[in-house]
Amino acid sequence: MTLLHWATVSPFLLAIFIPILYKYTRSIHTGWFVLVLPLVLFGYFLSLLPITSNGGVIHETIPWVPSLGINFTVYVDGLSLLFALLITGIGTLVALYSIYYLSKKTEKLNNFYVYLLMFMGAMLGVVLSDNLIVLYVFWELTSLASSLLISYWFHREKSTYGAQKSMLITVFGGFAMLGGFSLLYVITGTFSIREIIEQADAVLASTLFLPAMLLVLLGAFTKSAQFPFHIWLPDAMEAPTPVSAYLHSATMVKAGLYLVSRLTPVFGGTPEWFWLLAGFGIITLCWGSISAVRQKDLKSILAFSTISQLGLIMCLFGLGSATLHFDPTDSTTKFYATATLAAVFHLINHATFKGSLFMTVGIIDHETGTRDIRKLGGLMAIMPVTFTVSLIGLAAMAGLPPFNGFLSKEMFFSGVVNATTLGIFNMETWGFLFPVLAWVASVFTFVYCAIMFFRTFTGEFKKENYDVHVHEAPMGMLISPVILGSLVVIFGLFPNLLTYTIIEPAVTAILGADVFGGEANIYLWHGFNPELFMTIAVVAFGTLIFMNMKKWQQTAFYLRERDPLNRVYDSSLDWLIKGSQGITRVQMTGMLRDYFAYMCVFMILLFGYTMVRYNAFAIDTVNVSVISPYMWVLTLVFIGSTLAIPFINHRITAIIVVGVIGFLLALFFVIFRAPDLALTQLLVETVTVVLFMLAFYHLPELRKEKFTPRFNLVNLFISIGVGGLVTLIALSSFALGTEAGLGTISEYFIENSKELAGGYNMVNVILVDFRGLDTLLEVLVLGIAALGVIAMIKLRMTGREDV
């Protein structure tokens, strides 16, 4: 285990001690113990920054299941380090924020911090793993931790609903992803991402390329809340706000983006990858931003806003992957790689401003008791710090200068505009859609940012709307949003602070080549170009729409808040439960005769099919023995009495006829020269008839003797089928056995019964000597049967007694 491995699993190790710390140090908020770890980890990952900035990588392996090619390999390059810094950095701030957000008196902090640390460790594992299976394990752990955190207030129905929904959707995707990983293993013979990237050509040439890609993308899309799998994210807002800020804005929802960017060197450069990513990304972007406008709850707005921003990043990753189609070292390629650069930059920016926005919304919720924009208003003067941080965050999200959102939005516009000139993948036909849709989505983004801002902070303060005394949050709660807010400004004013240290190495890792060659520059002011005019138009149109809000506020579009896709989810879940219950009800009738019919029908079909399929029917009349007249008579009587049983109305008569059949069988044994069998059969049959009589004697008085066998055509067919099939199999096996010349081992017994075992009764010698073990176990069966009878009759337990 290297230091890096310890760093990855350290959150899990700390999580073990949290319940103990919680129990024995009740006076100190448990969060303080947690806070230290992400801070230390953040510092540690920062110390790795110089290595990746210079293009270096760290690659450490410890074997886990080496025979299956599964090893706990950590791989640090620009991309994973970027995510690791996000996870630990924002993790630190969220831990700090949660200390003031969650009361140590009323909340179960031990649960909260165990889940949070579990999530942090899982997330670090996802971004640092080089092995696909290890990545999958951590991936599912994030799903699990996320569900636990969403249902943190598990006594609320909405929390458990949201947790179940997110679990079902993300685990569905995760499972599909595992399928994709397995296919990649089938193609390349390795689980290591490094080695798969080296064999990228083999993957592209394989027939399994498309299924593998689709399955992996299903995992990425469900995790990153892409259309139409985004519906779990708004319902996940029932989680405590620190969780929403951490998981559902900055880290977990970006796991899908991480996976997509990580596997771009494998799948990138193909039209399928390009169109799926860019297409779904742009649809998600528009859908999310339009849905966000009509939300009335602050966290719901942020949830849909997160969805739309994730779509934006996904779209950019898709557009950027086109770079791999060309020679990466070519100077023109830089032009298209802008999209990837923008994606990475926006990824960072989104984590900063969205994290701060969630925290400020949490503060508003905490201090006013509501998140409903119809109740809020006029908080500007009451909460000056919250107001300032929100303003910065919202301006960045809307894409206004001089904040970092402006820069990434401009780069996004250049990315989509550049992409129209690609000239491959049918972009000359459909490429114009990207700038148009991107622009429309940006207008709506501007509108919901404006709604959030003006509805919360401006207007009139109505005291009667709040149950609590409204005041500014305590210092501790404000530290984290203020830090994130400052980062928004700093990254906006000095974007190149990040460019060479983090963004460029990440882009290099995604595109697999140093495209920019250290010349990627991000400027706050880049002259009068189409992108700037697009932004100006966005602001103008957005303002226009917001000004006319009163008009469209009454339309059905605004009033219907829930995403229509939820109806699909709810009804399909309903249908699934009802359908499976229905199917179970149809087949599990609870009646023994139905199950018996199933078994018989299945047997007929299985054996019948096998016999027909292998043409195994054979009837041979040459090798049969001569049948003597009294055998004919006996057989006819035997068949006659058997056929009579179903038509007998009286049970007692039926018992006697069954006895007759038994005695006839004994007679058969006599004829076929089996004296031991005949003796045993006679005695056993007598005992059986006596026991039948006993059972008959104890039948309840009611309905006595009123027994008419009911006629059922299906049963008739089934029984004829079973009888016919068994007869045919017996005849065929006899014929085929004779044909194949299968001999008998009885010669050996005949010869050796006296010599080896000293007895003339061959049957008995076989029973006690040659195959004595069978006899031993058969009497054991008899003994158990006797004990069973005793237990059933003597132990009369009532109610819920137990032995």
Binding site: L683, L694, N761, N764, V768, L782
Partner: protein, 146 residues
């Protein structure tokens, strides 16, 4: 086993039973010993013995037969099984596989040259188990009044 209000005199049945039981028992013992060379054996012998006992139970009342046959039939199952298993294990002590049977001819005082085999105790075990289970099952059901 219904309790009638008056007791009928079943002297015929009692007398016949007294004689027949001995015949059946002797026959069952014959069947048991004949098994090695002629039809018969532990299973049939056991069933036959059980039917002799049953006849006694049918003819007389339960209590007196319980006094006459003071066996615990359930324990008989265990004894029989143990006997059969030990016969098998004994061959292992001699270094042979489980359940290897041996036989040898001996000159016995009255019977003359007789074959003695380890299959006999094994068969005896089966004989005891069969008696045990047949009587256990039927008596348990018969005694059940509930």
């Amino acid at each position: 086993m219904k309790n009638n209000s008056f007791k009928s005199n079943e002297v015929m049945l009692h007398t016949v039973t007294r004689i027949v039981t001995f015949i059946i028992l002797s026959f069952s013992v014959y069947l048991f010993f004949a098994g090695h060379n002629d039809p018969g054996g532990g299973f049939i012998g056991g069933l036959m013995t059980a039917s002799a006992f049953l006849l006694m139970y049918l003819a007389f009342d339960m209590d007196s037969i319980k006094k006459a046959l003071p066996f615990n039939f359930t324990a008989l199952i265990a004894i029989g099984l143990l006997l059969a298993i030990f016969t098998g294990v004994s061959s292992m002590l001699a270094g042979d596989p489980f359940l290897t049977q041996y036989f040898r001819y001996f000159q016995l005082p009255i019977l003359g040259e007789t074959e003695l085999t380890t299959a006999l105790p094994f068969d005896l075990g089966i004989y005891l188990v069969v008696i045990g289970i047949a009587l256990t099952i039927i008596l348990t059901i018969a005694e059940d009044d509930a």
